[in-house]
Symmetry: C2
Subunit: 377 residues, 2 copies
């Protein structure tokens, strides 16, 4: 196992950053969600706001108070993790009385409008919350409020993503030699996964994509029993998780020379990916990064063969805000962690995709994925 010393996370001020988005825009308040409190149910957002890593919790954030509810399994862990993070909250432990605890807290404080993550609760849950948990409040659907805060990563978060990228790099270097033995896609995907786990990853960011020959023409191909042959393009898209944070990287390789058309595809995508990386910096439109990649591929005559957006944010989830695509709105800020992953996909022939994960800086970016970009192994 790789042991990496990870710096702390700046958790304590996150709840105040969320509260700053509550405002109604009236009476001098900043314009915002127009809520008095936010009921948070998405575990990944509770982790972000409190440092709690367990599998069950609820969080009610009011203007001055915070209620954290979990069950008996997490009595000690929740107290320890919230204290370590510097989060002040009333912690309630209950397996069966959670509804009553939240209900009573909301009644006592008299919240009129309570935010609820519309993308994070089921319709069934929302119906129960509205009628039984918050009968005196109006539940206000919020979309991406906390996810918006999560876009800018602090140093501790970047260190975790960097550690996950490092494990993926090392794992790839350790197992690449086995491609000479003509493994199946499934077999090689397992090798890659097992190696990342042996190196200390707690899990995969997603099931590795191992797509050889014609299979590479499908951007989201799943590993099959097909053997990886010499002279074929092989798309490898994989990442792992360290202390909750994801990595993401794609390399396209070939055991032996894949021929002139494949080499040309590769050179175009490599140039496109470099153009995208070079475009990344604080203040640039996300769509401009996409355009930088897309222009190179269009120039080569393959505009229609670049089948997806250029990239996405990476953090506690493998796909986060912002989207880096033609329709992605907004500009990149320092501390955003995004992928740049253009590709060309030719049906019946194969695909090339090259992807790095980068952290945006005032002047450009730092690349967190370090595996070499040589086509021929």
């Amino acid at each position: 196992m790789t042991t990496v010393e990870l710096p702390g996370l700046d958790v304590a001020e996150r709840i105040d950053r969320l509260r700053a988005l509550f405002g109604s825009g009236e009476a001098g308040e900043a314009p915002g969600a127009g809520i008095d409190a936010h009921f948070v149910t998405r575990l990944v957002n509770i982790r972000y706001l409190t440092g709690f890593t367990g599998s069950a919790a609820l969080l009610l954030v009011g203007p001055d108070e915070v209620l954290f509810v979990t069950d008996g399994r997490y009595k000690d862990q929740s107290a320890d993790q919230l204290a370590a993070a510097g989060v002040e909250a009333r912690i309630e432990i209950s397996g069966t009385e959670q509804k009553r605890i939240v209900h009573d807290a909301a009644q006592a404080t008299g919240y009129g409008r309570v935010g609820l993550e519309a993308h994070g609760v089921t319709w069934s849950q929302q119906r129960g919350f509205a009628t039984e948990w918050f009968p005196s409040a109006e539940l206000v659907p919020t979309e991406g409020l906390i996810e918006g805060l999560r876009r800018v990563k602090d140093a501790g978060e970047v260190a975790r993503i960097r550690a996950a990228c490092g494990i993926a790099d090392t794992a790839f270097a350790n197992v690449a030699g086995r491609l000479a033995d003509r493994p199946t896609e499934l077999e090689f995907g397992l090798e890659l996964e097992f190696e990342m786990r042996r190196l200390g990853a707690s899990g995969m960011s997603f099931e590795p994509i191992v797509a050889a020959g014609p299979n590479g023409a499908k951007p989201h191909a799943r590993p099959s029993d097909r053997r990886i042959e010499r002279g074929e393009l092989l798309v490898l898209d994989f990442g792992c998780i360290v202390d909750g944070y994801c990595s993401d990287m794609t390399r396209t390789v070939s055991v032996g020379d894949p021929g002139p058309e494949a080499r040309r595809m590769y050179d175009v995508v490599l140039e496109s990916q470099k153009a995208g990386r070079d475009a990344v910096r604080q203040g640039v439109e996300a769509s401009a990064v996409d355009k930088a990649c897309r222009d190179v591929i269009a120039e080569a005559g393959w505009a229609d063969a670049f089948l997806h957006g250029t990239g996405h944010g990476v953090g506690l989830e493998i796909h986060e805000d912002p989207r880096v695509s033609a329709t992605g709105r907004g500009t990149l800020a320092a501390g955003y962690v995004v992928t740049v992953e253009p590709g060309v996909y030719l049906t019946g022939i194969g695909g090339v995709r090259i992807e790095d994960t980068l952290v945006v800086t005032p002047d450009g970016s730092d690349i967190l994925t370090a595996s070499p970009k040589d086509l021929v192994l």
Copy 2:
């Protein structure tokens, strides 16, 4: 990899079984959900109803027609899989026009009341469906309608669960010897997982539980860096997936004699688990199976140390209907696949849980998990 010949699934008649639940109870109709059509968004339910195994699809089931919508990645696969399953549906392929396609179909057929899985869509999705996809219909929340159908497994489903149980059995037999080397819980969990994957499992039913010594007192402990020592109780709860279907089994073992108290715990749980298994048959109340287990443990003075329900259904999901617990309603029917997994958990000391997966028969049950139940390895 293990290669098992799996019999076919009886997919074709499932949509009619769903339609039989539509009725309003008026004008001679069977009482049911009171809907004209059902819009299905849970992928696992779409798989169940159509045989489609891809990662994106929508299904609109009307009284006489079926609309299946997916994107370009699954053009061939959806046509092949629905045809192979004998499902007649209009298949539409679109990445960007799915809303319009579903909207137009609903408008054309004039559905007044459309079922929507309240537990399977987010509040955000429901709001969009109500206003933009089905503006002329009333969306009716359904809970567990299709999941209810899924309780009775056909022969092909049982064969898949049996194959997954068989892989788990073989993997356990293959790696148990390594416990003598004092691996950590994490290391042994990885060995177990890798072995199941090598034997052909497509994935884990859930992250294996490997809980040694005092860690075993937590029913849902996560594997840690703690070494597994001689003479300790070790709880192993694991399962894998074959062609979409899950297995689930728990064994408690010790390398060397764990001492008299641990042996007594084990004997009581073993007797409890046998009592539970013996209680399983068509027509018995689920709660009676729970009581059969619980009575043995209570008799031994550990009523408060059995911290969870006795079991649950297993199939396309690891936790399905029915619940086998004190509050579980309804009776078991032939073809249900359920776990029986009583346990005793003593804080600071450790835990014992023993679990099999069984298929209910008219006269009793068939046990699908076959690993021996010897405490001392």
